[in-house]
Protein backbone atom coordinates (compact mmCIF):
# COMPACT_ATOMS: atom_id res chain seq x y z
CA UNK A 1 0.00 0.00 0.00
CA UNK A 2 1.22 3.42 -0.84
CA UNK A 3 1.36 5.38 2.36
CA UNK A 4 2.46 8.55 0.64
CA UNK A 5 -0.92 9.09 -0.96
CA UNK A 6 -3.00 11.13 1.42
CA UNK A 7 -6.13 12.09 -0.41
CA UNK A 8 -6.25 14.74 -3.13
CA UNK A 9 -3.30 16.52 -4.66
CA UNK A 10 -2.37 20.08 -3.82
CA UNK A 11 -0.28 22.46 -5.87
CA UNK A 12 2.59 21.97 -3.41
CA UNK A 13 2.87 18.35 -4.39
CA UNK A 14 5.99 17.27 -6.22
CA UNK A 15 4.19 16.68 -9.54
CA UNK A 16 3.19 20.32 -9.81
CA UNK A 17 6.60 21.58 -8.73
CA UNK A 18 8.26 19.33 -11.28
CA UNK A 19 6.00 20.39 -14.14
CA UNK A 20 6.64 24.05 -13.35
CA UNK A 21 10.35 23.41 -13.31
CA UNK A 22 10.21 21.52 -16.59
CA UNK A 23 8.30 24.28 -18.33
CA UNK A 24 10.64 26.94 -16.96
CA UNK A 25 13.94 25.24 -17.70
CA UNK A 26 13.62 22.68 -20.47
CA UNK A 27 14.75 25.09 -23.18
CA UNK A 28 17.71 26.35 -21.20
CA UNK A 29 18.88 22.86 -20.36
CA UNK A 30 18.37 21.79 -23.96
CA UNK A 31 20.48 24.72 -25.22
CA UNK A 32 23.14 23.93 -22.63
CA UNK A 33 23.32 20.23 -23.49
CA UNK A 34 23.27 21.09 -27.20
CA UNK A 35 26.36 23.25 -26.73
CA UNK A 36 28.02 20.57 -24.63
CA UNK A 37 27.18 17.59 -26.84
CA UNK A 38 27.00 19.26 -30.24
CA UNK A 39 24.19 17.00 -31.35
CA UNK A 40 20.44 17.46 -31.20
CA UNK A 41 19.50 13.90 -30.37
CA UNK A 42 22.25 13.69 -27.73
CA UNK A 43 20.96 16.95 -26.30
CA UNK A 44 17.39 15.59 -26.13
CA UNK A 45 18.61 12.49 -24.37
CA UNK A 46 20.74 14.49 -21.92
CA UNK A 47 17.87 16.89 -21.24
CA UNK A 48 15.49 14.02 -20.56
CA UNK A 49 17.99 12.26 -18.28
CA UNK A 50 18.74 15.50 -16.44
CA UNK A 51 15.06 16.03 -15.61
CA UNK A 52 14.50 12.38 -14.74
CA UNK A 53 17.34 12.56 -12.24
CA UNK A 54 16.06 15.84 -10.86
CA UNK A 55 12.63 14.25 -10.44
CA UNK A 56 14.02 11.20 -8.71
CA UNK A 57 15.77 13.45 -6.22
CA UNK A 58 13.05 16.01 -5.61
CA UNK A 59 10.00 13.80 -5.29
CA UNK A 60 10.97 12.80 -1.78
CA UNK A 61 11.81 16.32 -0.63
CA UNK A 62 9.57 18.47 1.51
CA UNK A 63 8.32 21.85 0.35
CA UNK A 64 10.93 23.75 2.32
CA UNK A 65 13.80 21.98 0.64
CA UNK A 66 12.24 22.53 -2.79
CA UNK A 67 11.79 26.22 -2.09
CA UNK A 68 15.36 26.64 -0.84
CA UNK A 69 16.85 25.00 -3.90
CA UNK A 70 18.51 27.14 -6.55
CA UNK A 71 17.00 25.26 -9.44
CA UNK A 72 18.99 26.55 -12.36
CA UNK A 73 22.54 25.79 -11.15
CA UNK A 74 21.34 22.46 -9.81
CA UNK A 75 19.93 21.36 -13.17
CA UNK A 76 23.00 22.60 -15.02
CA UNK A 77 25.20 20.64 -12.67
CA UNK A 78 23.24 17.43 -13.20
CA UNK A 79 23.56 17.91 -16.97
CA UNK A 80 27.29 18.53 -16.75
CA UNK A 81 27.84 15.50 -14.52
CA UNK A 82 25.86 13.31 -16.91
CA UNK A 83 28.03 14.49 -19.76
CA UNK A 84 31.20 13.80 -17.81
CA UNK A 85 30.05 10.31 -17.07
CA UNK A 86 28.71 9.42 -20.49
CA UNK A 87 31.23 10.89 -22.84
CA UNK A 88 34.78 9.82 -23.39
CA UNK A 89 36.93 12.89 -23.82
CA UNK A 90 38.10 14.10 -27.18
CA UNK A 91 35.04 13.11 -29.16
CA UNK A 92 35.71 13.59 -32.87
CA UNK A 93 33.82 16.37 -34.58
CA UNK A 94 31.10 15.03 -36.82
CA UNK A 95 30.40 18.03 -39.07
CA UNK A 96 32.49 19.71 -41.66
CA UNK A 97 33.88 22.93 -40.36
CA UNK A 98 35.00 26.23 -41.60
CA UNK A 99 33.27 27.75 -44.57
CA UNK A 100 29.73 28.36 -43.30
CA UNK A 101 30.55 29.84 -39.97
CA UNK A 102 33.41 31.89 -41.34
CA UNK A 103 31.46 33.38 -44.26
CA UNK A 104 28.23 34.40 -42.67
CA UNK A 105 25.65 35.54 -45.25
CA UNK A 106 22.85 38.05 -44.82
CA UNK A 107 19.52 36.59 -43.62
CA UNK A 108 17.69 35.30 -46.71
CA UNK A 109 14.23 33.79 -47.30
CA UNK A 110 15.20 30.50 -45.69
CA UNK A 111 16.66 32.50 -42.83
CA UNK A 112 15.25 30.27 -40.14
CA UNK A 113 16.55 27.04 -41.64
CA UNK A 114 19.93 28.57 -42.23
CA UNK A 115 20.10 30.04 -38.76
CA UNK A 116 19.31 26.72 -37.21
CA UNK A 117 21.87 24.88 -39.33
CA UNK A 118 24.48 27.51 -38.52
CA UNK A 119 23.82 27.30 -34.79
CA UNK A 120 23.85 23.50 -34.89
CA UNK A 121 27.27 23.64 -36.50
CA UNK A 122 28.44 26.14 -33.92
CA UNK A 123 27.20 23.85 -31.14
CA UNK A 124 29.11 20.96 -32.69
CA UNK A 125 32.25 23.08 -32.72
CA UNK A 126 31.83 24.09 -29.10
CA UNK A 127 31.30 20.46 -28.15
CA UNK A 128 34.52 19.49 -29.88
CA UNK A 129 36.64 21.89 -27.82
CA UNK A 130 38.80 20.46 -25.04
CA UNK A 131 36.56 19.90 -22.01
CA UNK A 132 37.75 22.88 -19.94
CA UNK A 133 37.28 25.33 -22.81
CA UNK A 134 34.02 23.74 -23.86
CA UNK A 135 32.54 24.06 -20.36
CA UNK A 136 33.80 27.60 -19.98
CA UNK A 137 32.32 28.69 -23.33
CA UNK A 138 29.04 26.86 -22.71
CA UNK A 139 28.55 28.37 -19.26
CA UNK A 140 29.83 31.89 -19.89
CA UNK A 141 29.11 32.62 -23.56
CA UNK A 142 26.06 30.42 -24.19
CA UNK A 143 24.26 30.43 -20.84
CA UNK A 144 25.34 33.99 -20.07
CA UNK A 145 26.73 33.60 -16.57
CA UNK A 146 29.26 36.24 -15.58
CA UNK A 147 32.94 35.28 -15.32
CA UNK A 148 32.60 35.14 -11.58
CA UNK A 149 29.44 33.00 -11.61
CA UNK A 150 30.90 30.71 -14.25
CA UNK A 151 34.11 30.25 -12.28
CA UNK A 152 32.12 29.43 -9.14
CA UNK A 153 29.85 27.04 -11.02
CA UNK A 154 32.73 25.17 -12.64
CA UNK A 155 34.85 25.31 -9.50
CA UNK A 156 37.82 26.96 -11.20
CA UNK A 157 39.79 30.13 -10.46
CA UNK A 158 38.36 33.11 -12.31
CA UNK A 159 41.63 33.84 -14.13
CA UNK A 160 41.77 30.26 -15.43
CA UNK A 161 38.19 30.51 -16.57
CA UNK A 162 38.85 33.76 -18.42
CA UNK A 163 41.76 32.20 -20.24
CA UNK A 164 39.71 29.07 -21.06
CA UNK A 165 37.00 31.28 -22.58
CA UNK A 166 39.56 33.32 -24.54
CA UNK A 167 41.31 30.25 -25.89
CA UNK A 168 38.03 28.55 -26.69
CA UNK A 169 36.81 31.58 -28.64
CA UNK A 170 40.11 31.79 -30.51
CA UNK A 171 39.83 28.15 -31.57
CA UNK A 172 36.20 28.61 -32.64
CA UNK A 173 37.15 31.63 -34.74
CA UNK A 174 40.06 29.90 -36.37
CA UNK A 175 37.85 26.94 -37.28
CA UNK A 176 40.62 24.59 -36.15
CA UNK A 177 38.26 22.64 -33.93
CA UNK A 178 38.30 18.90 -33.57
CA UNK A 179 41.94 18.25 -34.15
CA UNK A 180 43.44 15.41 -32.20
CA UNK A 181 44.46 15.84 -28.62
CA UNK A 182 48.10 15.55 -29.60
CA UNK A 183 47.73 18.45 -31.95
CA UNK A 184 45.77 20.40 -29.35
CA UNK A 185 48.62 20.16 -26.94
CA UNK A 186 50.79 21.81 -29.55
CA UNK A 187 48.49 24.81 -30.08
Amino acid sequence: MDRRSDGGRSSEEPEAAFEDMLVAFQNRIFAFTLALSGDRSDAEELTQETFLRAWKAMRTWDDQRRTDLKVSPWLHRIALNLLRRQRHPGRPLMVRLGDDIASRSEPGPEAWQQRRARLDRLAAMVAALPAAQRNAVAVHCVQGLSYRESAAFLGRPEATLRSDVRRGLAVLRSGRVGCTDVFREAI
Binding site: G7, G8, E19, V23, N27, R28, L34, L122, V126, V142
Partner: protein, 245 residues
Protein backbone atom coordinates in the same frame (compact mmCIF):
# COMPACT_ATOMS: atom_id res chain seq x y z
CA UNK B 1 34.05 36.68 -38.63
CA UNK B 2 34.76 38.99 -35.72
CA UNK B 3 34.91 37.96 -32.11
CA UNK B 4 31.72 39.94 -31.45
CA UNK B 5 29.82 38.13 -34.18
CA UNK B 6 30.98 34.85 -32.70
CA UNK B 7 29.84 35.93 -29.25
CA UNK B 8 26.44 36.92 -30.63
CA UNK B 9 26.09 33.53 -32.28
CA UNK B 10 26.93 31.81 -29.03
CA UNK B 11 24.32 33.91 -27.25
CA UNK B 12 21.83 32.90 -29.89
CA UNK B 13 22.50 29.27 -29.07
CA UNK B 14 20.91 29.98 -25.70
CA UNK B 15 17.60 30.69 -27.41
CA UNK B 16 17.46 27.26 -29.04
CA UNK B 17 14.30 25.62 -27.84
CA UNK B 18 13.75 22.00 -27.03
CA UNK B 19 11.59 20.04 -29.51
CA UNK B 20 7.90 20.50 -28.65
CA UNK B 21 7.22 16.87 -27.74
CA UNK B 22 10.20 16.54 -25.39
CA UNK B 23 8.37 17.93 -22.37
CA UNK B 24 5.49 15.45 -22.65
CA UNK B 25 7.96 12.62 -23.15
CA UNK B 26 9.83 13.58 -19.99
CA UNK B 27 6.61 13.84 -17.99
CA UNK B 28 5.49 10.36 -18.99
CA UNK B 29 8.97 8.84 -18.55
CA UNK B 30 9.11 10.34 -15.06
CA UNK B 31 5.64 8.96 -14.32
CA UNK B 32 4.37 12.41 -13.42
CA UNK B 33 1.60 12.05 -15.97
CA UNK B 34 -0.50 8.90 -16.04
CA UNK B 35 0.43 6.44 -18.77
CA UNK B 36 -1.76 3.62 -20.00
CA UNK B 37 -1.12 0.29 -21.66
CA UNK B 38 -3.07 -2.86 -22.50
CA UNK B 39 -2.17 -6.19 -20.99
CA UNK B 40 -3.90 -9.58 -20.91
CA UNK B 41 -5.56 -11.02 -17.83
CA UNK B 42 -7.73 -13.98 -16.81
CA UNK B 43 -10.80 -11.83 -17.56
CA UNK B 44 -9.52 -10.74 -20.98
CA UNK B 45 -7.51 -7.73 -22.11
CA UNK B 46 -7.39 -4.85 -19.65
CA UNK B 47 -6.17 -1.26 -19.58
CA UNK B 48 -3.74 -0.48 -16.81
CA UNK B 49 -2.98 3.12 -15.91
CA UNK B 50 -0.03 4.03 -13.73
CA UNK B 51 2.25 6.85 -12.68
CA UNK B 52 5.33 7.06 -10.48
CA UNK B 53 3.26 6.42 -7.35
CA UNK B 54 2.06 3.14 -8.71
CA UNK B 55 -0.91 1.51 -10.38
CA UNK B 56 -3.84 3.91 -10.63
CA UNK B 57 -6.63 2.10 -12.41
CA UNK B 58 -7.56 -1.11 -14.17
CA UNK B 59 -10.48 -1.30 -16.59
CA UNK B 60 -11.58 -3.95 -19.06
CA UNK B 61 -10.83 -3.11 -22.68
CA UNK B 62 -14.13 -2.40 -24.39
CA UNK B 63 -15.42 -0.06 -21.72
CA UNK B 64 -14.53 3.62 -22.09
CA UNK B 65 -10.74 3.83 -22.48
CA UNK B 66 -8.96 5.64 -19.65
CA UNK B 67 -7.57 9.14 -20.20
CA UNK B 68 -3.79 8.92 -20.06
CA UNK B 69 -0.78 9.16 -22.31
CA UNK B 70 -0.05 6.05 -24.34
CA UNK B 71 3.28 5.02 -23.16
CA UNK B 72 5.51 2.25 -22.13
CA UNK B 73 4.87 1.16 -18.56
CA UNK B 74 7.74 1.70 -16.11
CA UNK B 75 10.52 -0.82 -16.53
CA UNK B 76 9.64 -4.22 -15.09
CA UNK B 77 6.05 -3.36 -14.22
CA UNK B 78 4.46 -5.54 -16.89
CA UNK B 79 6.39 -8.55 -15.59
CA UNK B 80 5.34 -7.80 -12.02
CA UNK B 81 1.69 -7.50 -13.05
CA UNK B 82 1.93 -10.85 -14.80
CA UNK B 83 3.40 -12.46 -11.66
CA UNK B 84 0.69 -10.91 -9.50
CA UNK B 85 -2.01 -12.35 -11.77
CA UNK B 86 -0.47 -15.78 -11.36
CA UNK B 87 -0.53 -15.38 -7.58
CA UNK B 88 3.25 -15.14 -7.29
CA UNK B 89 4.87 -12.83 -4.78
CA UNK B 90 5.87 -9.48 -6.23
CA UNK B 91 5.94 -5.85 -5.20
CA UNK B 92 3.19 -3.59 -6.54
CA UNK B 93 2.59 0.01 -5.57
CA UNK B 94 -0.81 1.64 -5.84
CA UNK B 95 -1.79 5.24 -6.31
CA UNK B 96 -4.90 5.59 -4.17
CA UNK B 97 -4.73 9.37 -3.90
CA UNK B 98 -8.18 10.86 -4.26
CA UNK B 99 -9.82 8.15 -2.15
CA UNK B 100 -10.97 8.67 1.41
CA UNK B 101 -9.25 7.05 4.36
CA UNK B 102 -12.03 4.49 4.85
CA UNK B 103 -11.80 3.37 1.22
CA UNK B 104 -8.04 3.18 1.46
CA UNK B 105 -8.12 1.03 4.58
CA UNK B 106 -10.69 -1.31 3.01
CA UNK B 107 -8.56 -1.69 -0.11
CA UNK B 108 -5.36 -2.12 1.83
CA UNK B 109 -6.92 -4.83 4.01
CA UNK B 110 -8.26 -6.58 0.91
CA UNK B 111 -4.72 -6.77 -0.45
CA UNK B 112 -3.82 -9.04 2.45
CA UNK B 113 -6.19 -11.79 1.32
CA UNK B 114 -3.94 -14.44 -0.22
CA UNK B 115 -4.29 -15.80 -3.74
CA UNK B 116 -6.71 -18.74 -3.74
CA UNK B 117 -8.55 -17.76 -0.54
CA UNK B 118 -11.69 -15.81 0.22
CA UNK B 119 -13.03 -13.71 3.07
CA UNK B 120 -16.38 -12.13 3.80
CA UNK B 121 -17.34 -8.45 3.71
CA UNK B 122 -17.87 -8.74 7.47
CA UNK B 123 -14.33 -10.02 7.91
CA UNK B 124 -12.91 -6.94 6.18
CA UNK B 125 -15.14 -4.67 8.30
CA UNK B 126 -14.04 -6.33 11.51
CA UNK B 127 -10.36 -6.31 10.58
CA UNK B 128 -10.35 -2.55 10.01
CA UNK B 129 -12.12 -1.98 13.34
CA UNK B 130 -15.41 -0.95 11.72
CA UNK B 131 -17.42 -4.14 12.41
CA UNK B 132 -20.76 -2.46 11.67
CA UNK B 133 -19.69 -0.95 8.36
CA UNK B 134 -20.24 -4.14 6.35
CA UNK B 135 -22.38 -2.41 3.73
CA UNK B 136 -19.89 0.45 3.37
CA UNK B 137 -17.15 -2.12 2.83
CA UNK B 138 -19.23 -3.54 -0.02
CA UNK B 139 -19.62 -0.09 -1.53
CA UNK B 140 -15.90 0.67 -1.22
CA UNK B 141 -15.04 -2.62 -2.92
CA UNK B 142 -17.61 -2.00 -5.66
CA UNK B 143 -15.67 1.16 -6.47
CA UNK B 144 -12.25 -0.47 -6.28
CA UNK B 145 -10.28 1.40 -8.97
CA UNK B 146 -7.73 -1.41 -9.30
CA UNK B 147 -9.66 -4.71 -9.55
CA UNK B 148 -7.62 -7.92 -10.02
CA UNK B 149 -4.52 -6.44 -8.35
CA UNK B 150 -6.42 -5.29 -5.28
CA UNK B 151 -8.31 -8.57 -5.09
CA UNK B 152 -11.85 -7.47 -4.31
CA UNK B 153 -12.99 -10.65 -6.07
CA UNK B 154 -11.74 -12.57 -2.99
CA UNK B 155 -14.34 -10.88 -0.81
CA UNK B 156 -17.68 -12.71 -0.89
CA UNK B 157 -20.82 -12.85 1.24
CA UNK B 158 -20.72 -14.34 4.70
CA UNK B 159 -22.99 -17.22 3.57
CA UNK B 160 -20.25 -17.88 0.96
CA UNK B 161 -22.48 -16.94 -1.93
CA UNK B 162 -20.50 -15.05 -4.48
CA UNK B 163 -21.90 -11.52 -4.35
CA UNK B 164 -21.44 -8.76 -6.84
CA UNK B 165 -18.33 -7.95 -8.86
CA UNK B 166 -17.67 -4.60 -10.46
CA UNK B 167 -15.03 -6.06 -12.76
CA UNK B 168 -17.60 -7.81 -14.98
CA UNK B 169 -20.40 -9.29 -12.86
CA UNK B 170 -20.69 -12.47 -10.75
CA UNK B 171 -19.61 -14.73 -13.64
CA UNK B 172 -16.28 -12.95 -13.92
CA UNK B 173 -15.86 -13.19 -10.16
CA UNK B 174 -16.62 -16.90 -10.20
CA UNK B 175 -14.22 -17.57 -13.06
CA UNK B 176 -11.45 -15.60 -11.35
CA UNK B 177 -11.88 -17.53 -8.11
CA UNK B 178 -11.95 -20.82 -10.02
CA UNK B 179 -8.77 -19.70 -11.83
CA UNK B 180 -7.17 -19.22 -8.42
CA UNK B 181 -8.24 -22.70 -7.29
CA UNK B 182 -11.00 -21.69 -4.87
CA UNK B 183 -13.58 -24.49 -4.64
CA UNK B 184 -16.41 -22.08 -4.88
CA UNK B 185 -19.18 -24.71 -5.38
CA UNK B 186 -18.06 -26.53 -2.26
CA UNK B 187 -18.04 -23.30 -0.29
CA UNK B 188 -21.54 -22.47 -1.43
CA UNK B 189 -22.76 -25.92 -0.37
CA UNK B 190 -21.25 -25.24 3.07
CA UNK B 191 -22.89 -21.86 3.11
CA UNK B 192 -26.30 -23.31 2.30
CA UNK B 193 -25.91 -25.77 5.17
CA UNK B 194 -25.18 -22.80 7.46
CA UNK B 195 -21.49 -23.60 7.90
CA UNK B 196 -19.38 -20.52 8.54
CA UNK B 197 -16.16 -21.90 10.00
CA UNK B 198 -14.25 -25.18 9.95
CA UNK B 199 -12.60 -26.48 13.12
CA UNK B 200 -9.65 -28.84 13.15
CA UNK B 201 -9.43 -31.01 16.29
CA UNK B 202 -5.79 -31.86 15.64
CA UNK B 203 -4.51 -28.28 15.67
CA UNK B 204 -7.26 -26.93 17.93
CA UNK B 205 -7.86 -24.09 15.46
CA UNK B 206 -10.91 -22.98 13.50
CA UNK B 207 -10.67 -21.35 10.09
CA UNK B 208 -12.54 -19.70 7.26
CA UNK B 209 -13.32 -22.42 4.69
CA UNK B 210 -10.51 -22.50 2.17
CA UNK B 211 -7.82 -21.23 4.55
CA UNK B 212 -4.39 -22.56 3.57
CA UNK B 213 -4.01 -23.93 7.11
CA UNK B 214 -6.85 -26.40 6.37
CA UNK B 215 -5.48 -27.53 3.03
CA UNK B 216 -2.79 -29.50 4.85
CA UNK B 217 -5.40 -31.61 6.69
CA UNK B 218 -7.64 -34.51 5.68
CA UNK B 219 -11.15 -33.24 5.38
CA UNK B 220 -12.63 -36.24 7.28
CA UNK B 221 -11.08 -34.97 10.51
CA UNK B 222 -12.62 -31.50 10.21
CA UNK B 223 -15.72 -30.22 12.00
CA UNK B 224 -18.18 -27.87 10.35
CA UNK B 225 -19.56 -25.14 12.59
CA UNK B 226 -22.24 -22.50 12.25
CA UNK B 227 -20.57 -19.66 14.14
CA UNK B 228 -17.20 -18.62 15.46
CA UNK B 229 -18.80 -18.39 18.87
CA UNK B 230 -19.69 -22.06 18.81
CA UNK B 231 -16.13 -22.96 17.83
CA UNK B 232 -14.77 -20.82 20.63
CA UNK B 233 -17.05 -22.33 23.22
CA UNK B 234 -16.02 -25.79 22.02
CA UNK B 235 -12.46 -24.84 22.99
CA UNK B 236 -11.07 -24.02 19.55
CA UNK B 237 -8.92 -20.98 18.86
CA UNK B 238 -9.16 -18.71 15.85
CA UNK B 239 -6.58 -19.52 13.20
CA UNK B 240 -3.92 -16.78 13.16
CA UNK B 241 -3.64 -16.95 9.38
CA UNK B 242 -7.26 -16.38 8.33
CA UNK B 243 -8.56 -14.83 11.58
CA UNK B 244 -12.19 -15.91 11.11
CA UNK B 245 -14.67 -13.17 11.99
Amino acid sequence: MTIDELKLDLQELRSMSAPPELGARILSAAGVKDVRAQISSPIGPIWVVCNYRGLRSVTPVGAAPPTALDGPLPRGLERRLELALQGRKTRLDFDLSGLGSFERSVLSKTQEIPFGEVRSYGWVAKEIDRPRAVRAVGTALAHNPIPLFIPCHRVIRSNWSIGQYSGGGPEAKRSLLTFEGVEIDLMQQLGRRGVRVIADPRSGLFCVPGCRQLKRQHSSRLLEMETSLRALSAGFEACPLCRPA
